[in-house]
């Protein structure tokens, strides 16, 4: 399978109703990283993620994947998981069917559920699962698709610490299985735990793009330094 990475983004912009939500963002995304998009609320993190994933069309700049048909090799997990009114297993099977997966879809779906620890809940209606379980199910659904790149938009923003831990464990496991991770968070602790690379976004602009260690040890911008210190940015 050819890799869709690296992704090359140049001067990306997104303007809606005269408001520049994202402006002049250039970045390169290499295979194998766990990239965290960090920044205060309203920085444009979610919009950037949707632009990269293709849910939004940029109003300026270019976005180039290394291989054609890149969309088929990406998956995204949203802040609030959207589950169909059917069993947990059937939700994953639906994703596989839509992706055109042939043959062993049932086995693949069950394997994905087992990996996130939801095997025993396979036949439960997905919408009555707890928030944390639904988010793990969303991860299992993404995992079953075997994406090269997994986007996550604030995947733990509405979860308690235990559920957050479980979700983070799955993210790390998916990364170890070969997926490149790109996730947004406004939680510095989570960024410290998960990031290998960091994109710091502020008011729609990419302020810093550095390895995580360097970012936390010595942020180059005043905004990032203030954000790490826990000051309020707007």
């Amino acid at each position: 399978m050819t890799s869709i990475l690296p992704l090359s983004v140049r001067d990306l912009g997104f303007t809606i109703a005269g408001h520049e939500v994202i402006q002049g963002v250039s970045l390169d995304l290499a295979a194998g990283s766990r990239t965290v998009v960090l920044g205060p609320n309203g920085a444009g993190k979610s919009v950037l993620l949707r632009l990269l994933h293709g849910l939004l069309q940029p109003t300026g700049g270019t976005l180039r994947w290394a291989a054609a048909d890149a969309r088929r090799h990406q998956a995204m997990v949203f802040q609030r998981p959207v589950m169909l009114r059917r069993s947990a297993l059937a939700n994953i099977r639906f994703a596989l069917d839509v992706a055109g997966a042939k043959g062993e879809t049932d086995a693949r779906a069950r394997l994905a559920l087992d990996r996130v620890g939801l095997g025993p809940l396979a036949e439960r209606p997905a919408r009555v699962l707890s928030g944390g379980e639904q988010q793990r199910l969303a991860l299992a659904r993404a995992w079953a698709l075997q994406p090269q790149v997994l986007f996550l938009d604030e995947p733990t923003a509405s979860l308690d610490p235990a559920a957050t831990r479980a979700v983070e464990d799955v993210i790390v496991a998916m990364h170890q299985a070969g997926a490149t991770i790109v996730m947004t968070t406004h939680d510095i602790g989570q960024a410290r735990r998960l990031a290998t690379d960091l994109l710091f976004l502020h008011q729609g602009r990419l302020i810093e793009a550095t390895p995580a260690e360097a970012f936390f040890a010595q942020p180059r911008s005043a905004e990032a330094a203030a954000f790490i210190r826990g000051e309020l940015l707007w």
Partner: protein, 234 residues
């Protein structure tokens, strides 16, 4: 007052004995309106889903017309179907006029806008919630529509039952295209109209009570389906 009480007593007697005439008329009503609902739902649900997801110039006008047609006058629909099916009409050779099939067709036309408009609303509301997730999974428009129709099945069953309620209770259309022929096309509403004008109040009242009973039952069923669904599927 004495007359009404006496008629009520006779009406209950008819129902208690399962009077063959009463049963035959009620059964035909159910068959005709059941057929109408089946026909209308098969066409209206996909149409409503398509209209919910489609974006084209003039869409708002189509929705406005569809909503407006929810209040189609039954006699006018009856007249149009009559003209279509009459000997000299374009569908005259089918020989459907004054048959239960013609009555089903007329009722189906009458309730198509009801089911389609309600379905459009339900699916469009759901689409707001599901859109990003389904598009992220690379679902085609048709796959989205299919998934939403199935996911909203409990809400949609209410729209279908609303259509049934309207069909079984209308009198103008079936009177014109059915002709109220005894034992062939006489349904509850046309029988009530006829028996009332003949002065046979007990049969008219009995039929009226059965009709009300049916409509109430349908609403109970709709309620039961909904609360079951909420408990089972969230």
């Amino acid at each position: 007052m004495q007359d009404i009480l006496q008629s009520l007593g006779l009406a209950f007697n008819l129902m208690w004995r399962l009077d063959p005439n009463l049963v035959a008329i009620a059964t035909l009503s159910l068959k005709v309106s059941g057929g109408a609902v089946l026909l209308a739902a098969v066409l209206a649900l996909p149409f409503g889903a398509w209209l919910a997801l489609a974006r084209f110039p003039g869409r708002d006008a189509v929705i406005a017309v569809l909503n407006g047609m929810m209040g189609l006058p039954p006699v006018v629909v009856g007249l149009l179907v009559y003209l279509l099916l009459s000997r000299a009409g374009p569908l005259g050779p089918l020989g459907l006029l004054f048959t239960p099939a013609a009555m089903s067709i007329a009722q189906a036309i009458l309730i198509f806008p009801i089911i389609a408009a309600l379905a459009r609303q339900v699916i469009e509301d759901a689409w707001d919630e599901y859109r990003e997730q389904l598009l992220s999974l690379n679902a085609t428009r048709w796959q989205c529509a299919e998934a939403l129709l199935w996911d909203m099945r409990f809400s949609l069953s209410t729209s279908v039952l609303a259509g049934f309620g309207r069909a079984v209770a209308e009198v103008g259309a079936v009177m014109i295209v059915g002709g109220n022929i005894d034992g062939v096309t006489r349904v509850m509403t046309t029988a009530i109209a006829l028996e009332t004008s003949k002065g046979d109040l007990p049969l008219a009242l009995a039929l009226g009570l059965v009709l009300i009973f049916l409509v109430v039952c349908i609403n109970f069923a709709a309620q039961a389906v909904k609360s079951y669904a909420r408990r089972r599927h969230g």
